[in-house]
Symmetry: C2
Subunit: 165 residues, 2 copies
């Protein structure tokens, strides 16, 4: 008697962490380095996004900014320079948060020397994706195919995939 293994059936029975990055990419808004900064931050605020996925003008992943990272850009300059002043000075100096962003592009906000951008390949296993996101504590990871952005995975989506049985 010859036993044959139905590979497709086996795959279907593996758990969420057995899937590949391209199986769980999400519909997630993406901005470019030359996108208006105010619109991008407003989008994160309005859609309650966990962060911002930024590509360069060729569509290559360039930066991931967590929602908390974006708080820097709505703070008055004196608090950005010295956060300990935040509690000392009154709210009367708050000014218009939107004014800090108006007329600027995403590239204007980003530091000159970017930190590590979390990226996975479309064929990467979700364990590798989770390990990468965990290491940089990123709420988002870029999924690439042929060097271009293929999709985005959020940490909560990855948790959901992992818990699917």
């Amino acid at each position: 008697m010859i036993c044959t293994v139905d590979e497709t059936a086996l795959t279907a029975r593996t758990y969420g962490l057995g899937m590949r990055a391209e199986d769980i990419v999400e519909d997630f808004p993406v901005v470019r380095t030359d996108s208006p900064a105010l619109d991008a931050v407003r989008m994160v605020a309005d859609q309650r996004l966990p962060g911002l996925m930024v590509t360069d003008t060729s569509g290559k992943p360039y930066a991931v900014l967590a929602a908390a990272d974006l708080l820097r850009f709505i703070l008055p300059r004196y608090v950005q320079d010295d956060p300990s002043l935040a509690g000392v000075l009154g709210s009367s100096t708050a000014g218009h948060a939107a004014d800090n962003l108006r007329g600027k592009t995403i590239a204007d906000l980003l530091p000159k020397h970017l930190t590590h951008v979390p990226v996975a390949k479309a064929a990467d296993g979700t364990i590798a994706v989770a390990a990468e996101m965990l290491q940089v504590r990123s709420p988002l990871i870029a999924v690439t195919k042929d060097g271009k952005l293929h999709g985005v995975i959020t940490a909560s989506r990855l948790l959901a995939a992992a818990l699917e049985s």
Copy 2:
């Protein structure tokens, strides 16, 4: 001629960053250190939450776990110990992510020595709240009144408040 200033009208005209923490707290689910870990992680996954707000059994803020932090607990133990193994070993070893969490409480997952828990007082200005969240790159902050958790503010909610004119 005596000029009187209508303080209420002035306050109403200040921008989002001129508000206080208690003005913008959100309806956000909270778990306790003795809550079941699997239910908590499933809640973050299902509701696409940016993270988990944990109090101790007396209602005092105890920990904030970003969604990305939670990925640690659904990874196989060998990847937790050495993330570089994530890409080397196949997905067949993934096992059941939920099994890593079943029967455990939140307290079982938390490190023995907790890192800084982001907390603001109800009367703190939103600039101070934003500065605190930015410093620890936290997607959530606990807002306390009389030492107890009064509410939660997410980074995206704070961005929205700051951009309100």
